[in-house]
Symmetry: C2
Subunit: 357 residues, 2 copies
C-alpha cells in the first residue's frame, strides 16, 4: 500500500533519489563498495561533490560572485554561524515564527539585534508588512517559509542592506534571485536530501569583515577554499542531494517545479476555502505557504479532529498532524509530493464533509 508522505521534515524525497541512494548503499559508482565506506577523497566521491555543487549553481543561477557549500549542523548551526561571520555591531531580523526567534536568540550573542516586525500577536499566522529596515545594520535576516505556521514570503524583499535568508523549507521550490543575497542557508531535509547536510550560498566579498577570531570549522572561508571538503563531508546525504538535483533538472528545473507547486497547493487551499468542516490557518492568500499548508476544523466540527485524523490515516496519509504549537493539521507538499497524494487527502476531506451531512 503506497503511503502519502505529508511529513514536514525530514520529508518526502523523489523516488529517483530513494532508488539511486539504495543502489549506491550497496555498490557506489561501480566501485564494488558502499557509498558509506568510500573515501571522500576518492575520485568517485569528488565527482559527486563537484556535480552537486555545479547543479546548485545551474538550477539557482548562482552568480560568479557567490560560492555554494555543503556543510553540516542544519539551519540551527547557521543561526550562530551567520552572525559569527557577518555581524559587526548591529543586524535587523524579521520575526515570523519559531525559526526566526531561534536565529534572533543566537545573533544576540554577537551584537545588537533590531526586530523590525513580528507576527507573534496572532501566533504568526501572517507575514508582517510595511516594516522599515534600518540603513545602519550589517544585514537584514528573514525566514522565507515558516514550516510550523504555514506562512511564506514569496518574493525577495527589496532592501538597501545586505540580505540573508533561511530558506530551509522552500529552497528549490520557486525562483529566487541569488544575486540579491549575501547569504542563503538551508537545512537539506525538505526539498533536497535526508537530514545531515546544509546548503549555504554566500557572496565571497561579504566575508572577512568582522574582527572577532572565527573557529576554522565555522569560518565560511575554510569551506570555500577546500570546496566543502575541509573535513569529511556527510557523504550519503550529499550523494542523495545530487540525485534530487539531477531529478529536478530532468523535470524542467525551478520554473517548472514552481508551477507544479502552485497547482498542488491550490488543490488543497481551494478545498479548505470551500469545505465547511475545515479552514486554513493563514487567512491572507498572499501569505500562504505552498510548502506547508496548515488547517484546522471549523468551529462546528472542532470536536471531530481525531475522527478526521483517523479517516486520513486510513487512506494512508502520514504526517498530517499539526505542530503542537498550533494544533490542527499540516499537509507538507514539497517538490517530490505527487498530485495523486494531494488528491487522496482532499478526497478524504470531501468524504469527511459528506459523512457529517
Amino acid at each position: 500500500m503506497k503511503k502519502h508522505n505529508f511529513y514536514a521534515g525530514p520529508s518526502i524525497l523523489p523516488e529517483y533519489t530513494i532508488k539511486k541512494t539504495a543502489e549506491a548503499i550497496l555498490d557506489f559508482a561501480g566501485t564494488g563498495l558502499s557509498v558509506m565506506e568510500v573515501s571522500h577523497r576518492s575520485k568517485e566521491f569528488v565527482a559527486v561533490m563537484d556535480e552537486a555543487t555545479a547543479l546548485v549553481k545551474e538550477l539557482l543561477q548562482v552568480p560568479e560572485t557567490h560560492e555554494v557549500l555543503f556543510l553540516q549542523g542544519g539551519a540551527s548551526t547557521q543561526f550562530f554561524t551567520v552572525p559569527f561571520n557577518l555581524l559587526k555591531t548591529k543586524a535587523a531580523y524579521l520575526n515570523t515564527g519559531t525559526w526566526s526567534n531561534k536565529a534572533i536568540k543566537e545573533a544576540k550573542l554577537f551584537g545588537e539585534i533590531v526586530e523590525v516586525a513580528s507576527s507573534k500577536d496572532t501566533t504568526y499566522n501572517y507575514i508582517p508588512k510595511g516594516y522599515v529596515v534600518p540603513e545602519d545594520v550589517d544585514y537584514f535576516h528573514y525566514t522565507t517559509n515558516n514550516t510550523i505556521y504555514g506562512t511564506q514570503i514569496h518574493h525577495d524583499p527589496e532592501v538597501s542592506v545586505p540580505l540573508i535568508a533561511d530558506m530551509s523549507s522552500d529552497i528549490f521550490s520557486r525562483p529566487i534571485d541569488v544575486s540579491k543575497y549575501d547569504l542563503i542557508y538551508a537545512g537539506a531535509q525538505k526539498n533536497l536530501a535526508p537530514a545531515g547536510v546544509t546548503l549555504v550560498i554566500v557572496r565571497k566579498e561579504a566575508l572577512g569583515k568582522v574582527d572577532r577570531p572565527i573557529p576554522t570549522m565555522i569560518d565560511y572561508r575554510t569551506h570555500i577554499e577546500k570546496g566543502s571538503m575541509f573535513n569529511t563531508p556527510p557523504c550519503v546525504p550529499v550523494f542523495a542531494a545530487l540525485q534530487t538535483l539531477r531529478w529536478l533538472k530532468e523535470n524542467g528545473g525551478i520554473e517548472a517545479i514552481a508551477k507544479v507547486n502552485q497547482e498542488k497547493a491550490a488543490i488543497i487551499y481551494d478545498e479548505l476555502d470551500r469545505n465547511k468542516c475545515f479552514e486554513p490557518v493563514v487567512k491572507d492568500p498572499a501569505d500562504r505557504s505552498l510548502m506547508n499548508i496548515t488547517f484546522v476544523m471549523t468551529k462546528a466540527y472542532k470536536e471531530k479532529e481525531a475522527e478526521f485524523f483517523e479517516l486520513a490515516t486510513s487512506k494512508n496519509c502520514v504526517g498530517i498532524k499539526g505542530h503542537r504549537s498550533i494544533g490542527g493539521f499540516r499537509a507538507s507538499t514539497y517538490n517530490a509530493m505527487p498530485k495523486e497524494s494531494i488528491q487522496v487527502l482532499v478526497d478524504a476531506m470531501k468524504e469527511f464533509e459528506q459523512k457529517q451531512a
Copy 2:
C-alpha cells in the same frame, strides 16, 4: 569480484550495516517510507536514537555520570566545541600529529595551551613518553589513534586533571575506561557509521563552568537536555550507527573485537617485520596502531612502490596509498575488516618479495 577495503575513512563497515541500511532506504521499520524521508519525531526514528544511545552505553560501559550524544560536524567541530565549553584559562595538549595540531590550533582561540610533548621531530612516528601534565590546567587532551602516521596510545593515561580524548579512529576497537574521561569524541566514519555523525560522551558535571556565552548548538547541555534531538539529527548516519552497534554486540562486544583486532594487525606487522621489501613506519611495537598500519618499501626497493601498488590493486585491494604527508602505504584494518582481506594483502606482499628473488 569482492573488494578489500583498506580506506582510512570513510572506511569499511560491516556487511550487516550495509544490508540493513540499504533495506531501510527503501522501507524503514515497516513504515512504507524511506528512512531518509521519515520525521525524526516519528516513534520509529525515536526508537532508533534511543537504542543507539543505549547500546553505546552498554558496549562502552558508560557510567551514569556521563551522557552519550550523536551530533554533527565531525571531530573538526569538536576541536573548537571542546574548549568553547570546557576551557577556562589553560589546557594541556599532547601533539601526536595532524589531528592533535588542528585541535591545538582551535583551542588557542579560547585560552593558553601547553603542548606537553610532541613527536613532530620524526614526523610523528612514535608516541612521546615521560611528559608531565601541569596540575593547574583545565584539562589534558590527546588523540588516541593517529590515522595518518599509524601510531596509537593503547592505554588510558593516568593524569590528575580532567581527561579529554579524540577517539575518532579507534573507538569501539578496544576497551576503554570511560569513567576516567570528562569528554570523549569521535567522528563516526571509522568503526561506527558513514560520515555525518559524531559521537560525544561527556561527564555532566564537567559542563557549565566557563563564563563565556555559548551558542545553543555547540553547548553540550542543549543536546543532553533534548537527547540528541534538539534539531533534526542526521537520521541515516544514526540509523547506520545503530546497525553497527547491534553487529558489534552480536559479535561479542568490545573485548571480543579487541582480540580480533590484535590478531589482524599482528598478521600484517609480522609480515612487515619479516619481508625484506617492506618495513613498518612505526618502529616501536608499543606505539603501533592496530587500526592504521603504515609501511614503506625498504631501501633496496624504494623505486618499486608503484609496482607493489599495481600488484595489490590487481588483487582488489582498495585504499592502500599512504597519506601524502608520509607517502608509502597504509592498511586500515578497522573492526569490520575481515581476516580474509588482510590475508590477501599479506599474500600480495609475499608474492612481491618472491618476484624480486
